[in-house]
Every structure is written in C-alpha cells, then in structure tokens.
Amino acid sequence: MTTLTKLRDILASFIGHSLFRWAVLSLAVVAVIATAAYNYRDIDGDLTAVALSRREAVAQLMAVTLTEKFGRVTDVAISLSARVKFRDLVAQGKWGEAIEIMRSVPQDFPHIERLFLTDAKGTLKADMPALPSARGLNFSSHDWFRGVSRDWQPYVSSVYRRVVVPQFNVVAVAVPVKSMTGQVAGILVLHIRIEKLLEWVAGIDMGKDAFVYIVDSKGQMALDSRHQSREKIIDLSATAVVQKLRRGEQGVEIGFDAMGQEESIIAYAVVPGYGWGVVVQQPTRTSMALTARDEQLRRLLVGYGLILLLGAMTAFLTLRIVSARQRAEGDVRFITIVNTATDAIISVDQDQRIVLFNYGAEVIFGYNAAEIIGQPLNRLLPTRFGEIHRHHMQNFAAAPKTSRFMEERREILGRRKDGTEFPAEASISKLTEQGRIFFTAILRDVTERKRIEEEIRSLNANLERKVIERTAELASANKELEAFSYSVSHDLRAPLRAIDGFSQALLEDYSAKLDDQARDYLGRVRAASQHMAELIDDMLNLARVTRATMQPAPVDLSALAASIAGELRQTQPERAVEFVIQPGLSAEGDAKLMHILLTNLLSNAWKFTGKQEHARIEFGAQRDNEVPAYFVRDNGAGFDMKYADKLFSVFQRLHAINEFPGTGVGLATVQRIVHRHGGRAWAEGAVGLGATFYFTVSPEPAQATA
C-alpha cells in the first residue's frame, strides 16, 4: 500500500497547498508585521521620550539643587552680616574685631572656603583665614562688587579665578553690611570653591557615561564634571545650548555638542534666580534609558517574532489537521474508488514491483492482492512481451516529465493467473514522488468487447454473404421463373394446338360420320383449348409484368390511351364507342408497363360496354390529392360494390364467361403494375351503371408514411 499512501499524500498536499490558503497565510503574516512595525515606532517614540525626559529631569534637579545651595549660602551670608555686634564693629571700622566674630564660620560651613570684608568701596579690610597679601586690595572692578553694589542686595557672582595665591576658581557671594542706621558700611564676601558645586549635585544619578557642566551667569563654564581640576575658565556663551540657557530656555535634545564627538542627549536647565545653567550630557550610545528602549524594542521584536512563529505553527498545524482530515476523506474516497472500480488499478514502483493491486485487478487477473504485491509486473504479462514491455516502461520513465500525469492509452495483452491471455485497454500514469517513480495502470479487460466486435463483424460478414446469397437465389429464382415462363410459352401451347387442330381435322374429315352432338362436343373441345391458350398468354403477361425491369420516364398517358382506343376500334369496327380522353395527362413510369396497364383497363371498358347502345369510355385524372388519380370510366355493365375488393385478384371474375369473356387476370395485372410504381388501384361502380377504375402511379403522402 506504499503507493496508495504516496498518492494520498500528493493528493492531500495538493489540496493543502491551495492558493487560497497561501493567500490567507500571507495576509496574516503581513498583518502581524504591520502591527509590529506600528508598535515598534510607537514604543520607540515613547521610550525615547521617557529617556529624554529623564535627562531633562536630571538637569532640572541639578539646577534646583544649585539654586537651593546658592540660596542657602546667601542666607548664611545675610544672617552673618545681620549680626548686630558685627554690624556695629563694621560701622565703627573695627575690621579686625568684626572678622574675628566670623572665625568659626569656615568650620561651621565647610563649603565656605574663606570670607572677607571690604569697605563700601570694595577695598579688602579683613579676611578669614587671613592672607596678608590681600589686605588693602580693591575689588571694585570685580563682578561680585558690581553685582552687590548695583542696588545693595545679596549677589552671587560668576566664576572667577581667585586673585590671591593659591589661585583656584571660586564663586563669590556678596552681601552688604549695613549699619544700624541703614548705611552701607561694608561688604561681606564668602568664597565657595567651585568644586563644591559638584559635590552638591553629586548625589544625583546622571546615568552611565553622562557628565554635567555648569554654566555661570556670563556663559562661562564654571564646572565640568569630567575635568574638575580645570583651571582655565572657558567661555561657552557662543554655544547654542548656552545661548538658549541665557535666553531662559530649558529642555532636552539629541545632537552634537561643541565639545562632544558623539551623538548625545543634551538636557539643559536654568538655575532659577541666578542666571546660571546646568547642562547634562550623555552619549546616546550609553543612555541607560535608550538602551532600555532598545532592549525593550528588541524584546518587542522577539515577541512579535514569537507571535509570527506561533502563528505559523498554528497555521501549519491547522493545515496539517485539515489536510489530514481531507486526506482521511480522500483516503476513504480514493480507497472506495480504487476498490469498487471494476477496472484493474495496478501500481508498480521503479523496479517494476507491484505495490497496488485493487479488487478489479483481482477479478480480472485471478490473483489475490496479497500474493501478487511485491511480485514483478511481468507476472501479469504474456512472457513473450515481458522484454518489450520493460523497454517501454523504461522509455516512459525517462521521458521528459511535462506533467505529473502523463497518460497514454493503448491495447495490450494481459496474462491471468491460469496462464490465459486476454486483450486489455490500459492507460498508464507516471508519478514522481521524492525522486521515486511510480506507474499506475488502469486496465480494462476488453475480451467481451472484442468478442462482441468480432461477433458484429462476423454478423456483418454473414449478413453480406446472406444478401449475396439471397440476391443470387433471387436471381436464380428469376431465371427459373423466366425459364418456366419460356417453357410454358413454348410447350403448353403445343398440346392445345394439337387438341384444337385435330378436333378441327375430325370435324372436317369425318363430318359425315358425326352427328350434331359430336360436332358440338368437338366445338367445345376447341373453345376450351383456345380459352386455355388465352389464360396461358395472360398468365405469361402477368409474370412478365412482375419481373420486367422498370425504366421510369415521363409517359404521355393521353396519347397512349388514344392509341389503344384506336386499336380497340379496329378489333370491332362495327361498334360505336365514344372515347373521351382528357388531353395532356402524363406520368412518370415504365412505358411498356403503362401500355399494358391502359390496355387492360380500356379493353375491360370496351368489353363491358359491349352491350351498350351508346357506349362511352372516359380517361382522365382527378387531382384531389397531391398525387393525381387517373381513371378509366365506362357506362357498361358495372359491378356490385360488395365485390369491389375481389376485382383485382387473379382469376376473379364477376361475370359469367359466356356473358363477358375473360380470364380474370387483367385487373390483377393492372394492380401489379401500379404497385410496382408505388401507387394503388381501386374501383367504384354499380350494377348496370358502369364502373370507374382509378389508379395512381406514385406513392401518396399518407401511404408513403404508412
């Protein structure tokens, strides 16, 4: 049953791989991919936004922290400068005593590097810790002085390098010191080392590889988290981000910073109230959020990939189930077809081994499937054809495969289990599956058909022979009839002549010795022999009419009738008979037979009007139907219609022979002639009122169909 399975698989896969299914599958795949793409974009956007907003939040948090720190330092400075004793000492110019009050401040506030006092003009009067080189320096040109002296409000300066050694970058917080009367007596300045700012924001996680730089109110880089020891103060006021900051804008963007070499997320925030800014920068590559985004997107893709895979598997399994079902149905159908087929269905593999042998094959070949499967195919072929068949099959196998079902029909001979051979008609298909070739032959035992064909052929031959035989028989019968007629014509008359002749001789030579009765008897002998001669002649005529070969041609019946009428007049010139002949009547028929026909009818009329003083004989035609009916009418003795059907029978006479002589053959001859022309004859009449004889010489429609 291997081939059966193969066939079934091919059948099922053919159904399974239908175009429709492929279309559905493709649509599903496209839908999933489209959804994935949409989601990817969506999630990409979301996650990017999240990543960016986080950077922005970091920047803002740092900015707020700085504000707060600046505010606290300012608050410290204000509270220090607001001490009454301190104010008094400053107002009194007791700079040394005043600064002593601040002695503990650097310890209390570690972010305050140092503090000093100037007078209202900006000249340093005292400092803590004390640096003798600084005393007496005027700082009126410094940013912090200009800032605080503008309206005598606390001021946080831009970053600058400290004047006295050791020099380092600081931010100054300057607050006015006012006397109790409200006069500005001096200025308290606190120095904060710029590195402190970084410490303030160090607790804020910026993310991997991120860095921050702080820009002061002049647009200078105050601090760069990557280069804490940088000494040179870099002016960044020309950069795009700093310009945005100085315009009071804040936000986040992805781009290339002036300093950066790679694409980065740049978040920038304004430090409120101080004109400073914070810029947090992180390479896109290492942005945790973007990495997370990418990770998430990767997961998304993997997810969709899984969905596709699952879908494909589902589709595959569904198809398998459907195909399996169809295969099962197909199997049932296929097996039913194979098994109920009366044709033999036999499959062989490449090695000509039988792999399928259905019930039909069992019946035809007489083998059980069980005993023949696995056997070579030539077990089923006449031995003398085995080799030829093998060649043929090889050629067929090697033939270029244009289609899966290469078919041919031809007649072969099969061999049954019992060795008998039978003619079969076979169609052979080739299947190639997984590189293996299978042949399936559907084969029909045509013994019966051959037998019937032979029978028909023989019947036809027989029939033909019989026709020839019959024709020969008929010809021979005709010949015999002819010979018979010939013989009758010659031999039957001779004795009659003798009878008549010697009767006459008696009458002549022995009249003296004969009495009247003897002479009467001899007269009767002569009359009888002469009547018999007439009968013989009429019979011969009838036979002649029957066997004569017809040569149909147009016959002028009117002329013929006139001619016969003339002859009749000659036989009895003394009789006055009126002939009325309709002119121009003609018919298609045999001239000789037409002559005999009209002669018979007109003679009849002539004879039966013999006792009529005014005899009238009419010849004409009636055209009631398609086929004209010719007639011969007389005003003679007529006949009784009840004998009308007997009129045309041979030897039938309606009149006594001594009344009207005749043989009773004439009308039979008439009827035979019209029949030979396909027509018919009939008569109408009444005793003493004459008779009319009708005839047609071609088939009438009604008769033609009958």
């Binding site: 010939y486 014509s489 010659h490 002549r497 003798a498 002749g501 001789a505």
Partner: protein, 151 residues
Amino acid sequence: MLRKSILLVEDNPDDEALTLRALKQNNIVNEVIVARDGVEALDYLFRRGAHADRDISQQPAVILLDIKLPKIDGLEVLRLLRADEHLRLLPVVLLTSSKEEQDLINGYRLGANSYIRKPVDFTKFVEAVRQLGVYWLVLNEPPPANAAHKK
C-alpha cells in the same frame, strides 16, 4: 421448272402433321422436307450425314424453323446458317409457339426474315400457313442460287 422445296424443322409430330395438313388445305404442293431436330436440319443444309450427296442446287425456297428443338435449337441453327457464306441468304421463317420477347429479339438479330407465332386455333393456323405459302413461294423472289458468293 421444279417446284421449290420447303424445309420444315419441327420436332413435334402433332405440329408436323397439322402443318402439313394446313399446307395441303392451302394447296401448297411443294416438296416438304422435314427435319426433326437442329442437327438433322444442319445435316441437310450443309449436306452432311444422310444428306451428304444431296444436290446442292436444290436449296429450299423457305425454311420454317421452330425455335425449341432437341439437340441444337432453332436459333443456333439460324446463327450457323447466317454464318455460312452459301446459306446466309436463305429465307428463314421462325414458326414457333412462343412470342417471348427474347425469342423475337434474338430471332431478328440473328437474321430471321419473319417470325410467326403458331395460333392454337387451327382455323387461324391454316390461314397463317396459307399466307406464308403465298408470300414466300409465290410473291417473294428468292435470291439467285449463286448470289451468296457475290459481294
């Protein structure tokens, strides 16, 4: 002048008797030679057998030839007669029972001079023979004896 003879070829003795009677009744007294079959007729005409030493100058004035004859039939006799250069001009009257079309056609085709059907009615037969005698023995001039040789 010797009366011309008549060759009657007739196998039926009744017909022979009646024919002779009819001739006699019509006062036809010419010599009647009777041959009873085709062979006898040919022997006479070709001077063979019993007639081997017959006088060649004495040819019959007319041959009354029946068609249906034993051995060789009348039409064959006629054919041989017409095929012979000496005898081809002899008048031959087919006198027979039949008026079968084929006999008529064959008779005339083979060169019969006349075809007469013997009537059953003896009275009519006598009349027919009378007319025959008058025509062939009196009215008709036979061909000259040596005419057959001339072209």
